[in-house]
Amino acid sequence: MAFKFPSEEWIQELSKQLNASASYERSARDWEGDFIFVVEPDEAYPHTNYLFLGLYHGKSTGAAMLSSEDERPAEFVISAPYSNWRKVIEGQLEPIQGMMTRKLKLKGNMMKVMRYPAAAKEIVSCCARIPTEFSG
C-alpha cells in the first residue's frame, strides 16, 4: 500500500517507521523537540500543508496533519515547496545541504539539530522506506 504525500496517513507512517528503527532510537536517545514540516505550494502542488511530528528521547510521540502552524506548538519548523520535499523523500536532496542552500528553511535552533546528524539521516532514511504516492 502506498501512502499519499502529504497526508495524515503518510506522517503517521513516518512516526511508525521511526518507532521501529533501532538506529533512530540510538541516535536520538536524548533528543527533545517536536517538528512541523510545512509543505508550501509550487507549480506541482497548489496547497499548503502542516505535518506535525512529535519526537522525544529516540521515539516518535505521535504525528498529525494540522490545519495551521499554530495548532500545536513545535520547537522546530521546516518549510519548503512541495517539490523540494519530494526531492528529500526520494533521496535527491540531502536535508542538511537543503538547509545550507535555503531549499529548506528552518525555524529553531539549528545548532541543536546539527548535534544529531545521525538521527537526521535516519529520519530521511525512514522517509525513503515509506512507499509514497506523490500528490503533485
Binding site: 533501532a22 541516535s27 540531502e94 542552500t101 531549499k103 545548532m111 546539527m114 546528524p117 537526521a120 539521516k121
Partner: protein, 387 residues
C-alpha cells in the same frame, strides 16, 4: 545547486611578497608562539611594514584552539581595531583567526552560533588573510572552523561560507622548515581531505578534479618531502596539493575518517593528520562493502589498481596503508602508542562523539552504532575490515 567558495590565492615561492602591495592601516597577526620563535612572524611583519601597515601579534593559539583562546584574541582585536586579520600557521592559528574575525565583526554571536545557515555580514571592519606554514590543513582556503570545547573534550565544527579568507598566500618557503614528523602528519591530513572529498556523498564535478590532482601530488611527493626536507620541488608540490585538497574537500565535505579522527584527537591528543589517516583505510574498507565504486575509481585514476568494485577499493586502502608506513606513521591506533586499557576505557565516548560528528553523514554507507564501535576496535588492532 551548490556553491564553490575560494579566496584569491597567491602561490609559489615569493608569494609572501604580495603583502608588500597590501592596502590598509592595521593588521592583527594570529599565530602561535613557535612561529614567533622561528622568525616567521617577524618575516610577515616586515612585509606588512613595507606596505605601511601597523602590526600587532596575538600568539596565544594552542594546538586544537579553544573557545577561550579565541575570546582572548577577540579582546586584543577590539583594542587594536585592525582592518586586516592575518592567520599565520597551521590549521589551529588559521581556524582561530577565522573565529576571531567573525566574533570581532559580530560580538553579538557566541562561537557555537557560527554556522552555515545564517547571514554573518562580515567585512564591515576587517578582511582576512591566511598564510599556511604547514602543507596539510587546507584551512587557508576552507571556511570550516574547528574549535575545542575544553569542558566537554569535544571538537566543535563551525563555519560559514562568508568566513572564507579574502586572500590566501601559499608560499612553500614558509613550510620548508617543517620536521619530518610534522611533514608526514600534515601531508597525510591533506591526503585524507583529497580521498574523502572525492569519495563522500557530497562530492561534485567541480571538486573532483582538485581532489584527484591533490592525491596524485601527495603520493608522488610526500615520501620525498619527509625523507629530505630541503627538497623544495617536493615541498612546493606538497604545499600546492594541500591547498588543492582544501578547495576540494572544503567545497564538498570530509567524511567518516574525519569523524573518527576528530574524537581520537580530542580524547587522546593525537595530531589531527595522524589521527584521520589512521582511520582512512578502515573506513574505505567498511564503506566499500556496499559502495566501492568511487574508491575503485580513485585507485584507478591514481594508477594503483585496474579492477572495479570492492577489490579496487581495497587496493586503494592497501596503498594508503603502504604510504602511511613509508612515511613512518602509525597505521593503527595501537601503533600510535595508545594503550588498549585507556582506549577501551574511553571507547563509549569515542563511538558516541564520532556517531554525532556532522562529517559522518557524508559516508556512502552509514554505520550503525555497533558497527562504528567495531570499526574503532578493528582500527586499534590494525585488522582489515570484513563486515
Amino acid at each position: 545547486m551548490w556553491y564553490f567558495v575560494s579566496p584569491q590565492i597567491v602561490f609559489g615561492e615569493g608569494a609572501l611578497d604580495e603583502l608588500d602591495e597590501l592596502s590598509g592601516r592595521r593588521a592583527l597577526i594570529v599565530t602561535d608562539s613557535t612561529l614567533v620563535e622561528l622568525g616567521l612572524v617577524e618575516q610577515v611583519e616586515s612585509h606588512l611594514r613595507r606596505a605601511g601597515i601597523e602590526t600587532a601579534v596575538f600568539a596565544g593559539v594552542e594546538p586544537d584552539p579553544s573557545v577561550q583562546t579565541v575570546r582572548q584574541g577577540v579582546a586584543v582585536a577590539q583594542d587594536f581595531a585592525p582592518d586586516w586579520i592575518v592567520g599565520l600557521g597551521g590549521g589551529s592559528p588559521m581556524d582561530a583567526a577565522k573565529a576571531l574575525w567573525v566574533l570581532y565583526e559580530r560580538p553579538d554571536l557566541e562561537p557555537a552560533e557560527i554556522n552555515p545557515f545564517i547571514r554573518l555580514g562580515l567585512r564591515q571592519k576587517a578582511r582576512l588573510i591566511t598564510i599556511p606554514t604547514t602543507s596539510g590543513t587546507g584551512a587557508e582556503v576552507t571556511w570550516a572552523i574547528v574549535l575545542t570545547d575544553t569542558t566537554e573534550q569535544r571538537k566543535m565544527g563551525l563555519g560559514n561560507r562568508e568566513n572564507v579568507a579574502d586572500l590566501a598566500i601559499v608560499d612553500p618557503a614558509l613550510a620548508a622548515g617543517m620536521p619530518p614528523r610534522l611533514t608526514a602528519d600534515t601531508g597525510l591530513d591533506a591526503l585524507t581531505h583529497a580521498v574523502e572529498g572525492y569519495t563522500c556523498t557530497w562530492h561534485t564535478d567541480v571538486t573532483d578534479g582538485l581532489c584527484v590532482s591533490a592525491a596524485r601530488l601527495i603520493f608522488e611527493n610526500l615520501p620525498r618531502a619527509v625523507l629530505n626536507g630541503s627538497d623544495m620541488e617536493a615541498r612546493t608540490h606538497m604545499h600546492n596539493a594541500a591547498t588543492c585538497a582544501g578547495l576540494g574537500f572544503g567545497n564538498a565535505m570530509a567524511s567518516m575518517a574525519h569523524a573518527m579522527g576528530h574524537v581520537l584527537g580530542s580524547v587522546f591528543h593525537v595530531p589531527h593528520g595522524r589521527a584521520v589517516a589512521i582511520f582512512l583505510p578502515y573506513t574505505i574498507e567498511f564503506v566499500a562493502r556496499q559502495a566501492p565504486e568511487r574508491f575503485a575509481h580513485l585507485a584507478a585514476l591514481l594508477g594503483r589498481s585496474n579492477v572495479d568494485g570492492e577489490p579496487g577499493a581495497r587496493a586503494l586502502a592497501a596503498c594508503l596503508r603502504d604510504l602511511i608506513r613509508d612515511v613512518g606513521n602509525p597505521a593503527s591506533v595501537a601503533e600510535a602508542g595508545i594503550s588498549r586499557a585507556d582506549y577501551e576505557a574511553r571507547l563509549d565516548k569515542l563511538v558516541e562523539d564520532a556517531f554525532n560528528d556532522t562529517q559522518i553523514i557524508t559516508a556512502a554507507r552509514a554505520p550503525a552504532y555497533e558497527e562504528l564501535r567495531q570499526l574503532f576496535l578493528y582500527a586499534y588492532d590494525g585488522q582489515p575490515v570484513d563486515f
